[in-house]
Symmetry: D2
Subunit: 144 residues, 4 copies
């Protein structure tokens, strides 16, 4: 579907982010791949992620999904750091293991005003996903 | 609608949580009120919440909403710490100010197997909400 | 919150609709009220609404919610018939009785590009709601 | 992922439905395929589907998605006609052509109490989807 080159590289992404993103920094997100409207991000396990019951808290998976979709948006539109999420819906499917999480995002609409996509969150190397998320980003007028 | 007493007190809630919730602890959530199927929680501003653009990251509002709905669930069902979110949907409405956030949750279904409710996230003392969230919790078989 | 007059009247609404809306006509929606960003609509019971189990099908409640939110959008923006839903999320709370349904919508964001609101669907005269819906409309550039 | 046979056949499905589903009948849904947790359904175009602007109304796509996910649920669990939707979230991606719609559903969680899946709605023979939907079904206690 997306036969384009990504509009941003990993290096340029990190340069752009600089120290403007303490929230993202606190998760130590590792960008594995950026494509045109796709992205893959690893989230190393951190004991600070734990909720009662001893498993990774749901909002950790949400944060990973939100970040990864944002990277996919930049992969499709280029540098629009102020693209903002308008809504996201998350379904929690299975308890994650206390190991690295991987979030894989792809856009299925790359529009003038809105980008829509979904994100799968799974443990690294495990087929069964832990969460499925859909989200919409609002694209600022100047972009594209 | 809910003419019952809350099934858990703030003191008992904190006792139950103990040190089992490092994720929640990292947000320094302040429970303002627990009712039968309702809860109100303050989230003190923290520079670690910032995303590019200089405002509070969306997942911070999500985490506040998720926690507050969970408190409301315990207010309705008593001690079911393993009640788990099955899904949540968040609409981001306005940029929050870099000040304390308040999340207000209320359940509108308190069922045998599922609890459903919504949460408003706003800046303290500000009428216009920053985010609206709906969520569903799955209630373990023994509860209620 | 909304201290404005509605931007469209019931009469003008029906005039505008004319015969351009066979889908809406098939439901026999009765507009009870239009305000600035609010609307109330009655859906008379119809045996054609029934799903297995003998109750009103979920998509009937969805259709009522979608229509009512659209009326609320026109109440806030005036004649923007081409405003389109970008997403909706529905939680089914209780089985409706096979009687008239009422849908009550209100917008909680009336923005330049997006309108966001929710809708309660209940049986007429019954407090407990059958469904809660949130939705977003994309507003065409010329509007407002 | 799903290496099982479907738990219901098309013939048995229609037999079970009988005349208990006037709402579904009104759409003339054509089941193309039932698998274990998957289903594909065609919706023949009908001028009664039109909304202002001359295109197929969003709730038509919702109804198709809801029905198709239900068929997929029966494909995974067998005859649980009273399985009920607890929530659905729909993203509208592109205007459909006034032609046959196809809805393709697959479950990504087939649990004891909840089934979760998504549905793509597209025009027949067209790659770009018109809507993406996620939904959850509550499974009655006796099933499975």
């Amino acid at each position: 579907m997306n036969e384009h080159d990504p509009k941003i590289t990993k290096d340029r992404f990190h340069e752009m982010l600089g120290d403007s993103a303490p929230f993202m920094d606190s998760y130590d997100f590792q960008i594995l791949d950026i494509g045109y409207g796709t992205a893959s991000v690893a989230v190393p396990y951190n004991p600070g992620f734990i909720r009662p019951g001893g498993t990774i808290a749901g909002p950790v998976m949400f944060a990973a999904a939100d970040f990864t979709l944002w990277v996919a948006v930049l992969g499709a539109y280029g540098e629009v750091p102020l693209a903002v999420t308008t809504n996201m819906a998350i379904n929690f499917l299975r308890k994650p293991e206390n190991e690295t999480l991987i979030a894989d995002a792809r856009l299925f609409k790359i529009g003038k005003r809105l980008a829509v996509g979904d994100i799968w969150v799974s443990n690294k190397g495990v087929d069964e996903p832990c969460a499925h998320v859909t989200g919409t980003y609002s694209i600022p007028p100047m972009a594209k």
